[in-house]
Symmetry: C2
Subunit: 368 residues, 2 copies
């Protein structure tokens, strides 16, 4: 468990899973965001997702928030909640209450690393990133922690990310900026194509830096947007790199699609094809499976116009092999990070996806 606390009430921006099945915690937070959008803190547990737990689960989530609010002395509705773990299992409320009591005693301004570790499930390492910028003569700081690492697909993931900043920021502008940052970071990851019931990204801004309230156009807004983009982007890469069982991070880009929507369909079809993802496990430059995956995607494809490059080395041109030596491609696939660029040759649509390989370990992790 983790307890994230702001000294003073903080403005909140948040985005949640697009899954129609939503955890009790997500429903509670979404209601709070719609109603007032400020928070003193967030209490997070890992182990049970508190999804598919019905009315009892909703009561548990409210009780978790109430207990944490009581422990730190804030109003109940100023405490937000997030859960991750098994779906369909009730929270173990005795443990939750004991955990909250312990956390409230251990609160520390240097607790970020501990919090980053506390929210993990099958992740192999904590994920924490920081950026600073200047606003109205003041130095502002933004720090984020996140967890992955399976059930991850575009439109969020089994992922939680909590971003906090001491800057003062206009709440509406901040919500818009967060949506934009999420679109370019967390929504560009795919581990296994499954979108979870619990995905949550929250950004708390408490204004302790003393800067004038930021909104588009004000001094420091661009710095904030850049810091937000950098922290979200870095956390998203950390997540993809730490995908369940993953050994390789692959930067997939589709260009030349008829439209941006087509590019998204094509890049997702490739990045979520298990035949493509398993071919990355070895050093097997099987571009035929990429051709296959774009061909059955909803994107318009004319195979005679497709080209495919591995780290800039063209393997396919006009839909057929360029004749490049297999061992040059194998060297690329042997790396722990590489890029695949797919040009559909039909228009100007572009899309990007951070993907990872699908290993035997992924199956091993998820079969139990």
């Amino acid at each position: 468990m983790a307890l994230i606390l702001s000294d003073t009430p903080a403005a909140v921006a948040a985005t949640f899973t697009t899954n129609q099945v939503r955890a009790a915690t997500v429903r509670l937070d979404a209601a709070r965001l719609a109603a007032f959008g400020t928070a003193h803190g967030i209490v997070v547990n890992s182990g049970q997702a508190n999804a598919c737990t019905g009315k009892a689960g909703a009561a548990d989530a409210a009780e978790e928030a109430r207990a944490a609010a009581d422990a730190v002395g804030c109003a109940e509705e100023m405490m937000w909640v997030a859960s991750t773990g098994r779906i369909g299992v009730r929270l173990e409320m005795d443990k939750i209450r004991a955990g909250i009591a312990a956390l409230a005693k251990a609160l520390s301004p240097d607790g970020g690393e501990d919090a980053a570790a506390a929210i993990l499930t099958t992740d192999t390492r904590p994920k924490r990133r920081t950026a600073t910028w200047k606003a109205g003569g003041k130095t502002c700081r933004l720090t984020g922690i996140a967890k992955g690492s399976g059930m991850i697909a575009p439109n969020m993931a089994t992922m939680l990310a909590f971003l906090v900043t001491d800057a003062a920021i206009d709440r509406r502008a901040m919500q818009k900026a967060l949506r934009q940052a999420v679109a370019g970071s967390f929504n560009c990851i795919s581990v296994d194509g499954d979108t979870s019931t619990n995905d949550t990204v929250m950004l708390l801004a408490n204004g302790r830096a003393g800067n004038p309230v930021l909104k588009p156009g004000s001094d420091g807004w661009e710095g904030f947007a850049a810091a937000l983009g950098a922290v979200a982007g870095a956390l998203a890469e950390d997540m993809a790199r730490d995908g369940e069982g993953a050994k390789k991070l692959v930067r997939l880009r589709v260009t030349g699609a008829k439209s941006a929507a087509d590019a998204k369909e094509a890049v997702r079809s490739v990045g979520e094809s298990f035949l493509v993802k398993t071919s990355w496990v070895g050093t097997y430059p099987n571009w035929g499976r990429i051709m296959d995956a774009i061909g059955y995607s909803k994107a318009k494809v004319d195979e005679t116009r497709v080209s495919i490059a591995y780290d800039g080395i063209k393997a396919v041109e006009g839909g057929i092999a360029t004749g490049v030596k297999q061992n040059r491609l194998e060297k690329v696939l042997a790396k722990s990070e590489f890029a695949i660029d797919i040009d559909l040759g039909l228009g100007r649509g572009e899309a990007y996806l951070l993907a990872c390989d699908c290993t035997e370990e992924y199956v091993g992790i998820n079969k139990v």
Copy 2:
């Protein structure tokens, strides 16, 4: 390689992959189907898919057909072709020519078992099924052979199926009947969600049984439709059971969807979720992952109306756990075949999918 030959010209019905990237052989056969729709034979090779091979690949496919036609003494355009194997690799024409010569010498009325074995790739066993029926006082027979076993998804698969019958059947009616049979069989399989470039189902009817030409309403039409459905259905089950690395066959059914289209979206989302498929590897009745998968599908879902049963044992009712003992569900999941019924509780839409588990062996097979 296999060579399937009819003594006399046979009427052909066929369905092909919906992938926009189509093998040279598929394009050749589709043109023949559109132009005249009769065949003396089919020559099949496994090893190279002859997809993404450009104009050279198209010439190779035509040459393969010509060589086979010459070897058996029929007109070139009466010989159809099918390929399966690696995408992007040219046919090894020397081997193809030598293979055709050897096959033409070895032709036998009892060669069905050999042909069923010859067309396999990563399949572990041949697939062959037969049915008979009466038409106008004559006994008719229908036999099919097929191959799976990876890159398999609804709307066909890396799958080839060749069905032959000695019945006389009206060609247009036969094409319609084949489409219907494929929709209820081969299009209900999913091994890994990948639709291949080479999928082909062909039905040849040469009329040697001597029955009056069958069409809807004639004596024996119902028998034919039933035989076709039975053979196609059995071959489809054989394929799902022999999915790459698969140990378990799972009959997924979604009922109560708002529409048939919604039911299809939901059943496919569940059957293609790697988190669901890996949970079947163990004996892990993780219905939470099923809730998650229907929730992110395009089907309308109200989680409070969902129920899920494993071989008739209700695990979920109204979106939450029924409290049934975990070990009762584990017993179902330990079986090599079981059914999962998902009722969305919203309407009358239904859909069915034959799925299999995703094992470490699947990854092992496809990473090289």
